[in-house]
Chain length 153, copies 2
């Protein structure tokens, strides 16, 4: 928890720490607008064609779910000094789709931390961020390796 949203340094993070975010409600219009720009497939852009698709209805692009999750993270309690900079994503799963009207929230847990072997001013943190809908069902599981600055001496 970090309700003050003060920037967290590597030294402030402990395995098992959990950080919540605010929530966001996704509209059908936003789902379609994102998909028209970045994932133009009928099950993301066309409410009339979506019922005949693999999903059976209009659903958000998984990349839209990922982008909304990032916004919640950036504005939530998991505020890292130097910003939220990922070295890479080790897992990104969408166990169920996001539907128009869904309200999303994210919980991030620190899973591992280790000092950088090459740069003494920073460390690496493995964080697991799970995105839930309003029924507390996971819609995305993200595991990422982040660069976090050490507190200046």
């Amino acid at each position: 928890m970090n309700p003050s949203r003060r920037p967290l340094y590597f030294d402030d993070l402990h395995v098992g720490d959990k950080f919540p975010t605010a929530s966001v409600t996704v509209t059908e219009a936003e789902i379609i607008a994102f998909a028209q720009l970045y994932d133009p497939q009928p099950f993301h852009t066309d409410p009339a064609a979506a019922p005949a698709s693999l999903f059976g209805r209009l659903v958000a692009s998984g990349w839209h779910t990922a982008a909304l999750t990032m916004r919640l993270l950036v504005q939530g309690e998991f505020q890292l000094a130097g910003g939220s900079v990922g070295l890479g994503v080790e897992k990104l799963e969408w166990p169920r789709p996001v539907l128009p009207g869904d309200t999303l929230t994210v919980v991030t847990e620190v899973v591992e931390k280790r000092p950088s072997s090459s740069k003494p001013d920073r460390g690496l943190v493995r964080a697991r961020s799970t995105t839930f809908n309003q029924r507390q069902e996971p819609v995305q599981r993200l595991s990422a390796l982040l660069i976090v600055l050490c507190r200046p001496a």
Copy 2:
């Protein structure tokens, strides 16, 4: 290769097959617009503040790179029957940032395929999509497990 962009069924895909996309050039305005909506951090939104950041300059959000990659894939030669539907992403790395003015293109390689154990009308395909900038440097490596329909009998 699939220059006709006809929909590919599970039966049409072979390990080692490679599929290119068109290219897209990313502007500073688009980098900022995406980040203001989905990754509002100064090194993605503020050309004046970015030089003092970990990146040292304005760079695209990795999620923006991922979204642009998805658009190139959807419009490229790797056209799957039923659409491009990911079960999940097994790896997503950003070995270097995307900068304003960069031109991106994607190559997808089929790495593995296996029939679905539960549904005889489909299979699973592991695909590796690498996004390159105009200097042929990789800016994103994506490995995903996709659901692909079998050709109807």
